[in-house]
């Protein structure tokens, strides 16, 4: 039978006295304190923002960016797939006709409200043209007003891919 008998702890005299265990614990904490004061500290935190995290993976979903075609124009065709897929409904697109012969449609406005975005990546998945990506690597976005967090098409186009 699959019964596992777990031995109960805490019945020997040494365990009932508590003090040996308490002193053991105090030894552990003291050793941490001394290590961290020594020449080779093992501090696990960093002095953010002077020091930036260095262990962010390449696949980390940062702030969005709109990709460009080879000729440098916007790749997005304003198909509204991303806005439809977005669970937070924070993508606002206004389409316009494209007259330069490259394509038929392009966004006139393309706003993403980062305060509503949940960084789920559904927009990236939904896009048929690979026009939106979240590989900018920007993980901390700072603003003083709510309006600062609504990224416009120009700002999204300006974001670059973060190279590893």
């Amino acid at each position: 039978m699959g019964i596992k008998i777990v031995p109960r702890h805490g019945n020997t005299l040494k365990e009932k006295l508590y003090l040996p265990a308490i002193f053991g614990g105090m030894k552990t904490t003291l050793s941490h304190l001394i290590t961290n004061l020594s020449d080779t500290p093992e501090i696990k935190t960093i002095n953010y923002p002077e020091e930036q995290p260095h262990d962010i993976s390449e696949r980390y979903r940062g702030v969005h960016r709109l990709t460009k075609r080879d000729d440098g124009s916007v790749r997005c065709v304003a198909c509204f797939m991303c806005a439809t897929a977005c669970p937070a409904e924070c993508i606002f697109i206004e389409a316009e006709e494209r007259n330069d012969g490259v394509d038929e449609k392009m966004p006139k406005r393309f706003d993403i409200d980062l305060l509503e975005c949940v960084f789920c990546g559904a927009c990236v998945e939904a896009c048929p043209c690979d026009a939106i990506r979240m590989d900018s690597g920007i993980f901390s976005f700072i603003g003083k007003k709510r309006e600062d967090f609504v990224l416009s098409k120009e700002q999204l186009l300006a974001n670059e891919e973060k190279k590893a």
């Binding site: 308490i22 020449d39 501090i43 935190t45 002077e50």
Partner: protein, 427 residues
């Protein structure tokens, strides 16, 4: 009263203030930084005045300033606003007053006049401490009750029950200590600990009364409401316990009161069990007899100590961005250390060259003893912090079981044993 006696009294009061009230920001700082380092974090280290951070000490002052200027909010449901405001005052005042009987040096004799080196020159000793430490729980209960909040009331009830069960054991453990020392005056108790046991072990309380020391230290944790006995606060169970409804400076008084109480408990532990102001093997008479040698040792030891401190500062006290004003701090600290060294060595050297008169020997003894006491106090406070960040909180029934079923009988048995030994030795 001569000028000297007035000066000594004023110095005593200032010292007592420094050790209790002045210790609060330092203890808050130690608490935060030690907690951080124990948990492999950095802890608060950014706050600075013109680049001077003192390892984060400035943060405590910034915090106090914040508490002073915060909105003094009081919920509408609180009707007994007098008691509500009185509660933190009681906690703070009793913690503060209980520190006043701690002797931080042997009686100082200047020109044949004898001065007791403690905040209030009284002989009440342990009794004064026990009375006032017990009083502080009234503040907690009053605060919890007048808050009109279930959590506060729960915290207050816990505090009341806890103090009843631990005060008994604490009092009994003190009784056995008093039997051994034969006096309630803390000065006599410390003088007793200046002797040597069997000629080579310092007769500190922790050696001649280990069980009483253990019980007293445990109950002192409970008395000061520190982890593992901080059930009255219990932030993971009952929000903030008795101080849930408090904010701004009313909370600040509770907060400072906790640290002053902790410092007072440490002072009593040091006085009763860790030899008080005595350096090991050097009681007041030996210290005075060998004063020139000790001063010479000081002249050698101080630069060595400062040198290693400076090395440490150079290595570790850096800011992570170049051109930050905080990078100037290391140089400032090192200059400060060098200045301190020059001052002390010049002073002590002048004393040695000019020859020691009786008064200067006495004063030097007092200064050395005060420094010893301060160091021991700091160590004991560190132990309080250290234990807090090691042990989890007790469950309520475990707390009561420990208090009534373990500590009480142990304390009573200890009284019998010490009484038998004292009587047997007296025969």
């Amino acid at each position: 009263m001569s000028t000297i006696s007035i000066a000594v009294v004023i110095i005593n009061v200032i010292l007592a203030l420094l050790f209790s009230l002045g210790a609060a920001p330092i203890l808050v700082w130690i608490e935060r930084r030690v907690a951080g380092l124990i948990q492999d974090r950095l802890g608060p280290n950014r706050c600075h005045i013109n680049g001077i951070r003192l390892g984060g000490l400035i943060q405590s002052f910034a915090d106090m300033l914040k508490l002073v200027f915060k909105e003094d909010f009081k919920a509408k449901a609180i009707q007994e606003s007098f008691f509500f405001s009185l509660a933190p005052v009681i906690v703070f005042a009793s913690a503060f007053l209980s520190f006043m009987v701690m002797p931080f040096a042997d009686d100082l004799i200047i020109n044949g006049e004898r001065f007791i080196m403690q905040g209030l020159p009284m002989d009440l000793g342990v009794l004064w401490f026990l009375a006032l430490a017990g009083l502080s729980v009234y503040g907690i209960m009053l605060g919890g009750w007048s808050s009109r909040n279930k959590y506060s009331l729960l915290g207050a009830m816990r505090a009341g029950a806890q103090v009843i069960s631990y005060e008994a054991a604490m009092g009994l453990s003190v009784v056995s200590v008093l039997i051994t020392y034969g006096s309630i005056h803390l000065g006599d108790i410390v003088a007793y600990q200046g002797q040597l046991l069997f000629g080579f072990i310092p007769a500190w309380g922790i050696i001649i009364q280990p069980i009483a020391a253990l019980i007293f230290i445990i109950t002192a944790f409970a008395e000061a409401n520190r982890t593992p006995f901080d059930l009255a606060e219990g932030e993971s169970e009952i929000v903030g316990g008795f101080h849930t409804e408090y904010s701004a400076m009313r909370f600040g008084l509770f907060f400072v009161g906790e640290y002053v109480a902790m410092s007072a408990s440490s002072a009593l532990i040091v006085t009763l069990f860790l030899g008080g102001y005595h350096l090991p093997y050097l009681n007041t008479q030996t210290l005075q007899a060998y004063m020139p040698f000790i001063l010479m040792v000081l002249i050698v030891a101080l630069p060595l100590g400062s040198w290693s401190a400076m090395r440490w500062i150079q290595k570790h006290n850096r800011w992570h961005k170049a051109n930050d004003i905080r990078n100037h701090e290391s140089a400032f600290l090192q200059k400060g250390l060098i200045g301190l060294n020059v001052l002390v060595i010049a002073g002590v050297g002048a004393l040695l060259v000019l020859g020691l008169s009786e008064t200067s020997t006495n004063v030097a003894t007092a200064v050395i003893q005060i420094a010893t006491f301060a160091l021991k106090l700091l160590f004991m406070n560190f132990v309080f912090v250290w234990v807090r960040w090691t042990l989890p909180r007790f469950r309520y029934d475990q707390l009561q079981t420990l208090g009534w079923k373990v500590l009480m009988p142990l304390a009573i048995a200890n009284i019998f044993i010490s009484a038998i030994i004292v009587v047997a030795r007296g025969l």
